[in-house]
């Protein structure tokens, strides 16, 4: 009785998935239409350019011919991109569109491979759970891969599935990043993109889940949202606080990273520096980097470049010198008068 009930549930689900696949096929054809229009437009542009180029060459308009050649060169790059996209869409495997039995078998296989297939008829979703994903000794916990059946038809516009961290261990500086290749529950498919799309188009739902898991099990440091090296967040070199990438300031003098509280900028050259590599000008009391700080030639106190005159004197010493000079002048005058 229980087995029969389960079978009915799977048949109902198979029907639902089959309907979505039919809609997906419809949207694929529409997509082909759009891409074909774009491709056609590009071809027409090329033909037009060819006529213009022929005329320019015939009439010996060399500058014009060169300008058209350069435009054709630019257009060729776009053309190859359109061609690639067109080929991707139009390529169809000889594998037949699945029928109800095929999809039913897929669902049974998912249960066999993953132990359990979670079905939610209300939200029209199916999902499986992964094991605890551990990459380079960093445990990221298990993930739920949830496919939204109604969104299957929009495969060419948006991703119809989410990768949800169950016992989340997100990156220290971005809670949205729960895996080096998952941000905001969306997976960066990378090398798996075409295979995932093919699996969904052909109703190979078990392969779809398998492919997602294969990506989750793999760490590609070259194109991760946040590398595992920085997973726990960056530490401020001064106070040790964990800081996000946006809050991280790089001191150009000591080549280390600091939090906003432990960094500043030089008011003279506007370079970002840490508090250790800056000091306060005795005159203006602004922070200044070591390179923009000079010593007064008279009092030997430290001042920023802006607060020293051309002779290297601070305001006090400049004033003092002037007073001394005046005094000398007065005394010289007095002596002369005497």
């Amino acid at each position: 009785m229980k087995k029969r009930k389960k079978q009915r549930k799977l048949i109902r689900l198979s029907n639902l998935l089959l309907d979505s696949l039919k809609k997906l096929n419809g949207s694929r054809l529409k997509q082909i239409q759009t891409v074909m229009d774009e491709f056609n437009e590009k071809c027409l542009e090329t033909i037009k350019d060819k006529h213009l180029f022929d005329t320019a060459v015939e009439k010996n308009w060399l500058i014009g011919a060169e300008s058209i050649r350069s435009r054709i060169e630019r257009n060729l790059n776009d053309f190859s991109q359109h061609l690639q996209r067109f080929k991707e869409l139009i390529n169809s495997d000889e594998a037949v569109t699945p029928n109800l039995i095929d999809i039913f078998k897929e669902l049974l296989q998912i249960e066999q491979e993953f132990g359990k297939l979670n079905i939610n008829f209300k939200e029209k979703t199916i999902s499986v759970m992964t094991e605890d994903i551990v990459l380079d000794d960093t445990s990221l916990g298990p993930f739920e891969i949830r496919l939204f059946i109604n969104q299957l038809a929009k495969l060419y516009e948006d991703s119809p599935y989410r990768v949800i961290a169950i016992e989340s261990n997100p990156a220290g500086n971005n809670s949205e990043v729960t895996h080096p290749h998952v941000s905001g529950e969306r997976l960066c498919e990378g090398d798996g993109h075409v295979a995932i799309r093919a699996a969904l188009e052909q109703g190979r739902f078990n392969d779809f889940f398998m492919l997602i898991i294969s990506i989750l099990r793999t760490y590609n440091p070259d194109s991760a949202y946040i590398s595992l090296e920085d997973w726990e967040g960056r530490g401020c070199y001064d106070c040790g606080d964990t800081i996000s990438q946006d809050e991280c300031y790089y001191c150009e003098k000591c080549d280390r990273e600091f939090c906003p509280q432990c960094s500043t900028y030089c008011r003279v050259c506007e370079t970002t520096v840490c508090l250790g590599c800056s000091s306060e000008c005795q005159e203006c009391h602004e922070p200044v980097c070591v390179d923009c700080m000079n010593t007064c030639v008279d009092c030997e106190e430290k001042y920023c470049k802006n607060c020293l005159n051309e002779e290297g004197l601070c305001k006090n010493c400049e004033l003092e010198r002037k007073e001394n000079e005046n005094e000398e002048l007065h005394s010289e005058k007095a002596d002369a008068e005497v």
């Binding site: 990378g190 995932i196 294969s214 590609n220 070259d222």
Partner: protein, 81 residues
């Protein structure tokens, strides 16, 4: 003898292939996935795991799925764009 081969590495292509009678799954893997390790792939015949010496039969459905695939952000964003 013809089998359906679904190769989930790369393009995820599904094709009907002619193979010689008596070909084992191990031999088939070596021909089709040359240079790759069997351990790095999930091999299923008619949706079931089989032993290396399984002799392929006419109409079999062979699926090979890599266990590790590089994720990246660029490809997806390019597609959406």
């Amino acid at each position: 003898m013809q089998i359906l081969f679904i190769n989930n590495s790369g393009g995820g292509f599904a094709n009907h292939l002619d193979i010689a009678e008596g070909t084992t799954i191990e031999q088939f893997f070596k021909i089709k996935m040359s240079g790759q390790n069997e351990e790095d792939n999930l091999i299923r015949v008619n949706r079931m795991p089989v032993s290396k010496d399984y002799v392929l039969q006419d109409g079999d459905r062979v699926t090979i799925t890599p266990t590790k695939i590089d994720g990246a952000r660029s490809a997806v964003l390019e597609q959406i764009a």
